[in-house]
Every structure is written in C-alpha cells, then in structure tokens.
Amino acid sequence: MLRYIIKRLVFAIPTLFAVSIIAFIIIQLPPGDYLTTLLADWASQGGAVEAGTVAAMRERYGLDQPMYFQYYKWMWGILTQGDFGISFELGKPVTELIWNRLGFSLLLSLLTLCFVWAVAIPIGILSAVRQYSISDYGATFLAFFFLAVPDFLMALSAMYVMSAWFGQSVGGLFSPDYIDAGWSFGKLIDFAKHVWLPVIVIGLGSLAALVRIMRANLLDELSKPYVTTARAKGMSEFELLIRYPVRLALNPLISTLGWILPAVISGEIIVSVVMSLPTTGPLLLRALLAQDMYLAGSLILLISVLTIIGTLISDILLALTDPRIRFQ
C-alpha cells in the first residue's frame, strides 16, 4: 500500500511540472507584456516615464531575460519563498490577494462534492434497483436535463427565481454585516444561509452525471454471479444490495472524482462570477480581462495543483477500497 502511494506521488511530480508550464505559457500568451500596456497607459495620460524606471521594472520582473529564465525565476520564487509575483494592476503581491479567496473556493468545492455524493448515490441506487419504473424515468430525465443546463445559466435562473418569486436578492457568501466580521456562530449561520444555493447550482450538473454513472455501475454489478451467491447464502435483499453490488459499484464512482473535481472547480469559478462570491472566480476573470498575468497565472496554477492533489487523494482512496488495485 505504501509503495502504491509513493508511486502515485512520484507520478504526480511530472504532472505538476507540466501544469506549471501551462500556467506560465498562459502568462506569456498575450502579445507584449504588461509593462508595455502600462507605459502606453501612462503615455496616453501625458505622463513622462523615465527610462531608468522602465529598465528597473524590466529587471525586477525579469522581462528582459529569455523565456525559460523567466519561468525559472517565477518557479524559484514560488518554491523557495512562496512568492508568486506581483499583481500589476493592484500593485500588491499575488499571495496577499489569493489565499483568502482560494480558501473559499476550496471550501465551496468540498461542500459541493459532499452534496453531490450524498444525493447522487441514493438516487442512483433507487434508479438502478427500480429500473424502468416511474422514478427511474423521472431521475433519468432530470439527470439529462441538468446535464444540459450550463452552470452559469443555472446560477442566473436561480437568482431570477429567488428575486422574482421570493423577493430575495442573492449574491455573496455573507450578509453585509458579517463580511468583515471575525468568525462567530452567527457568521456561521449566515454563511450556511448563503452557501446552499451556490452549492446546489454548482453541483447539479455533476450530480446528474454521477446519478447516471452510479445507475449504470449498479446495473452492471446487480447481474454479476456473486450477487446470486450471496442470495443463495440466505442474505436479505437489502443487506445483499448494500454489502455487495453497491459496495462494488462505489469503486468506479470514487475514480470519477478525478474528473468530477475539475468539473466542480470549473463550475465554482463561473458560478462565483455570476453570483459574485468572494472566491477565485471573479478575481481570475478580472485578472484575465486586465491582462494582469502573474495574478491570473498563479490562480490557474494553484487551482490546477489543488485539482491534481484531489485526484491523487481519490486514487489513494480507490486503492484503499479496492484490494485489486492495491495488489497490482
């Protein structure tokens, strides 16, 4: 088991490296660099720029260096000092801006995952056990429907419904009174009151996918001979269902975490933009639109790293639950 975990960890290193390169490429993609944009801005405002200042800034950001050196410099800063660079637009270190938001992103994604799993598994089981019943058809149709509605549309519709029918404005994760307050029981309650809607909105698409997968897995497992064996032992149908086919159908479900997690994080970003939640989403969009590339690149890098860690955890979970993988 330990060997398996170490193997997976070693495998994750090249992936992390590749992700960092992709993030860096995204930083470099826009034509020109931020400094050029900045100078153009200043020039248009009639401000004169001293040549010395420009040179100093170029050196500071390594902009006059070759590409690979810039990458090296950026990575070195991150790895040794946790320095992700400077947000040009906001004039602050990237680290100052992102941790809080990243925390909320992570929290929101985790809550969504919990919600998705907790709801999808029972519905999937019901749908498979009562195959071709009204509830199965209903679940199937709803699953298809929610798969067809994009996250942001869901968010907009939810906000419309809340405001048009219930007269509530939705947005943010806290009421204005609590935004800057420290954590307290009251703040927690307030958070819970706000967070459920984004969680549902982000989760519905993945939920639908998981219901379909759970149903298909379970239908597969239900027709396997070991189910008959267990039945021939005299086990009750319910115990049988839970102990054997459901238990086995969960294994492939755990491995879906590898793509559910990226999907949830993607959904979280776009929904956060619509519902203006204090997470990475709006910050990333703003950074991209302003071509504030160190901020954007760092966000993309961190989000991807979080996803890779999540996938790693799901791999290890899968090995824990399935001896066949552990013994390979």
Binding site: P14, F145, D151, L153, L156, S169, S223, G258, I265, L285
Partner: protein, 384 residues
C-alpha cells in the same frame, strides 16, 4: 439470465431471426434497427435536424435584422401570435401600447386587443439577403404584411436596444451550433490521429500520450479556457476569433475520443478475426481500413455526437464571461451576456430564457441522440 444470454450455439443464432431480412442485414442496418427502438433518441434526431435547418436558413426564418435597433421598443415583451381575428383567419399580433410607470420610472407595454397588426407568411423583406450565402432572396418566412410606424413584431420580446430576440436567437444558432460541429471535426482529426497512433504503436509512445491525456483532463477546463481565450487580442477579426475559440474548445474534447479510439484499437488488435485477416496476408493498412475502422466507426459517431454539446456549452460559457466571442457576432453565449445583469433579467426575463431554452433544447437533444447512438453502436451484443 444465464440460460437466455448464453443461448446455446446450436439452438439458435444470437440475433432474433424471425425476420428473414436480419440474416442478410449489415452493420448499419442493424445499427438503425437498434437505434430505432430508442424513441427519445429518435425524437431528438428530428429536433436536431430541425435546429440545424433553422441555423442554415436563419436569414429566411428570422423576420427582422438581428442588429436593427429600435429605441421605441426597449425591453418590449413578447407579442402573442394569434391566428384569428374577429372569427376569421388572419394571423396577427396586437399592437403594443407604451405607458410610463411614474413610480418605478420604467416603460411598460400593454398589448392593445383592439389593434391587430396583420402578420403574413412569405412576405417581402425590407432588405435583400443571400440565402446560404449565395442565393439572393428577399422573401422571409413570416413578417408584417404592411408595416406602419409604431408596429412591431417581437414574438420573443426585445432587448435593451429594441432588437428582436427571436431573430437574434435564430441567427445565434448559426454560430453556436456550427461551433459544435467544427469543434467536433477538429477533435475528430486530433483524437483519431493521436488515439490511433497511441493504440497502434503501443509501447512508450502510448504511455507518453496516455500520460499527456491524463494531464490535460486533470486541469479544470474553465480556467484553462479562460486563460487561453483571454489571450486572444481584442482587435482580431470575428472569423479568426471564431476559429481560435473553436480550437480552444476542442483542445479538451479530443481526449475522450482519443481514448475511445485507442481502447478500440487495443482490444480489436488481439481479436481473432483481425489475426485471421493478418494470416490471410492482409497488410496493416488493409486491416485498419477493412476491419478496424468499420468496427469502431459507430462508436466514434456516438462519441462525437456526445462531444458536440460540451463544445456548445464551452462556447456559451466563454462568450458569457466576455472572453469568448464578442458582439457584433451573435451567438447564444453573446446573447446571454446581455442577461448577466440580474436587474435587467427581472425586468425582461425573456432576455435570459429565450437563448437559455435554445441551448437547453439543443444540448438535451444531442445528449439523448448520442445516448441512443451509443446504445446502438454495437448491434452485435447479445440481444435478450
């Protein structure tokens, strides 16, 4: 069901042969017979064909110029099309009467039942256009027969600038639906080539490609797309932006196709009938085109169909965020961008729900269709 699925070799062949034609039915005929049983998929196929026809003949179907503004009808509500007036057949919409709500300082519209505006089919348009880009025409499917000042035809309402939502959604279909097709075509080329190489050569090449695919799939798509799309210079011409966006969108789509192709290649390569062909003296190329491609063609079609909706959704999401397609291009995502402001939506919900319905219906139908195709993709599975 052991005793049914394992129906013995000699008590009967595995397919239901009461129908004599089945014995001489080739793979596509069996495919169709199996697909036909999936009723929802069949209906979806019709819906999809209809939607692509609408997209192709958008100029003919949309009654108004999608970019024509009309300050008088800002946020005009949808007008009901009624077929009868005073008991006789006369398609018409009711004229909108505008009042100013002094309390909320908003303009409000009321249909005036006393003032029908006649609507006709195959009417002459104000401007000539080229149908499908090369057939000069001036006839529209429907429109006002005798437009007067103050008349309007907004069957799905109007937007902030008084543009006709219906015409815009119909024109948006051109871009949104075609992005799915073009994107899928790019994915097809990428996926089949890379997946084929991976499956056919195997070894370290396969390993490398598989790791690469895993990597791509482990990155959350939206931030990746956002990063790439944001790098597109604002000044680029619409057509180039369109292709780049399509390329970005298909950057992810090909991975599932490549996996599918690789998996099929690997499993088919060791099938006895493929080995038999090799022993018969068939060349590797011959085997690929005579045996492998026909075997996974149906699977590829199903996977491709299932990939189109994710492309449509991706374009919509990017355009919605303002980093995909930009006005004056009309796509469903661009239309939804207008609905970003929840206050505007509260005042004019049709801004949100008309393009949303178009997206949901097309994606839903494509998913159902793909599901049906996938079920029918292997018509030789045991039919019990």
């Amino acid at each position: 069901m052991t005793d049914i699925t394992n129906l013995p070799p000699d008590t009967g062949p595995s397919l239901d042969l009461r129908n004599k034609d089945i014995a001489v039915a080739g793979q596509w005929r069996l495919f169709w017979l199996k697909f036909k049983k999936h009723k929802i998929a069949l209906v979806s196929l019709v819906v999809i064909i209809f939607m692509y026809l609408v997209a192709a003949f958008a100029d003919f179907i949309a009654p108004l110029d999608p970019n024509a503004t009309n300050a008088r009808f800002t946020y005009a509500p949808p007008q009901m099309l009624s077929l009868f007036h005073d008991g006789s057949f006369q398609p018409n919409v009711k004229q909108l009467k505008m009042t100013l709500n002094t309390e909320s300082m908003r303009r409000e519209f009321q249909p005036d039942p006393a003032k029908p505006i006649p609507v006709g089919f195959f009417v002459k348009a104000a401007q000539p256009y080229d149908l499908l880009g090369f057939i000069p025409m001036q006839t529209k499917l429907f429109g006002l027969t005798n437009p007067q000042i103050g008349d309007s035809l907004y069957i799905f309402g109007a937007d902030r600038l008084g543009r006709d939502i219906f015409s815009r959604v119909v024109h948006g279909a051109k871009i949104s639906l075609s992005i799915g097709l073009v994107g899928v075509f790019m994915s097809l080329i990428l996926g089949v080539t890379i997946g084929g190489i991976s499956g056919f050569f195997g070894g370290w090449l396969d390993l490398g490609i598989q790791r690469g695919i895993e990597l791509l799939r482990s990155i959350p798509t939206i931030p990746l797309w956002m990063g790439l799309a944001a790098a597109i210079p604002v000044g680029w011409p619409p057509l180039r932006t369109y292709f780049i966006i399509t390329l970005i969108v298909s950057l992810i789509g090909w991975t599932s196709l490549a996996r599918e192709v690789r998996g099929k290649f690997l499993s088919l390569r060791s099938e006895d009938f493929v080995i038999a062909a090799r022993l018969d003296g068939m060349s590797e190329i011959g085997i690929i085109f005579n045996h492998l491609v026909p075997s996974f063609m149906s699977h590829i079609i199903a996977t491709l169909t299932l990939a189109i909706p994710s492309m449509i959704l991706a374009e919509t999401a990017l355009s919605f965020l303002g980093i995909g397609l930009q006005p004056p291009i009309i796509s469903w995502g661009v239309l939804l961008q207008e609905a970003q402001n929840i206050r505007a939506v509260a005042q004019a919900p049709w801004l949100l729900f008309t393009p949303a319905a178009a997206i949901v219906i097309s994606v839903l139908s494509l998913n159902f269709l793909g599901d049906g195709l996938r079920d029918a993709a292997d018509p030789y599975e045991s039919v019990s």
